[in-house]
Amino acid sequence: MKATELTTEIRELNLTYLMLAQQMVLADKDMAIFRLGISKDIADVLAVLTPSQILKLSNSNMMLCRIRFDDNLVFGMLANYSGKEKTMSQSHAAILMAGQPAEEIA
């Protein structure tokens, strides 16, 4: 993949992410806070972004969303389960991820 293609893809993903996140916050703020793993302050910011602000924000060569688990345990549970363990490893991962702190504005 060429660098220009890569930045285009990232821009598009940023745009989709921000639009979806805003839609989720407007539909149900509390549930969006859980699903997105963000704090109330970020949810408030997302709710009032104008379309042109979303465009400007997404226009970047850096990804605006990032991976929510930084340990091997959760990663292993989500990625490496076999048929029978599926239910349990997904529940285990859900328990661990719900226990993580929310992303906050520093």
Binding site: I33, R35, S91, H92
Partner: protein, 182 residues
């Protein structure tokens, strides 16, 4: 009798309807709304087509500690804890929202939701009454539902240390699942 505002009553009926759809028992509706018992029974019949089940609510806190129910209740408890810590909702609203998220989790993970809304509500009451609490597992550091007065300083959860006959009940669960869908 004090005069009730129509708007707040409409809101309570909305909440009651949502709870009935999620499978709430009558006692839960009575305790979380200020609507009269007769109106609640009428509402229940209208929505479900039959009378609300009679009898006492399940009251045992031990149910939450057996292997499979413990995993389900821990998923719910962690979602609830997250909402209380980070979002604005409180009380029955928080319970309803966490329960919906729990149902969603069951759907994605393809498991039968064995925790009912009534049980989820009971669980929160047990937390408030300090009979149950969550303890973090020494191996995975996830939070799980435990007895408040047990010694939990070296607690290992049922998912890190799976008991040998875990999830093997006498009757196959798939059958009840199919019966429910039919």
């Amino acid at each position: 009798m004090r005069k009730k505002s129509v708007a707040s009553e409409a809101k309570e009926i909305q909440t009651a309807m949502e709870m009935i759809h999620l499978g709430a028992r009558l006692q839960l509706l009575e305790s979380e709304t200020s609507l009269s018992r007769e109106r609640l029974i009428k509402l229940y019949k209208e929505l479900k087509g039959n009378s609300p089940p009679k009898g006492m609510l399940p009251f045992s806190e031990d149910w939450f500690l057996t292997w499979q129910p413990n995993i389900h209740s821990s998923v719910f408890a962690d979602i609830y804890g997250y909402l209380i810590a980070h979002a604005d909702c409180r009380g029955i609203e928080a319970i309803i929202k966490s329960y919906k998220l729990y149902l969603e989790h069951c759907e994605v993970a393809e498991m039968e939701p064995i925790l009912s809304l009534t049980r989820a509500w009971t669980l929160v009451r047990f937390f408030e009454g300090k009979m149950l609490k969550t303890a973090s597992c020494k191996q995975c550091s996830g939070h799980f539902v435990v007895h408040a007065h047990d010694l939990n300083h070296r607690f290992v959860c049922g998912l890190c240390n799976v008991p040998s006959r875990a999830g093997k009940t006498n009757k196959p669960r798939t059958l009840t699942y199919i019966a429910m869908a039919a």
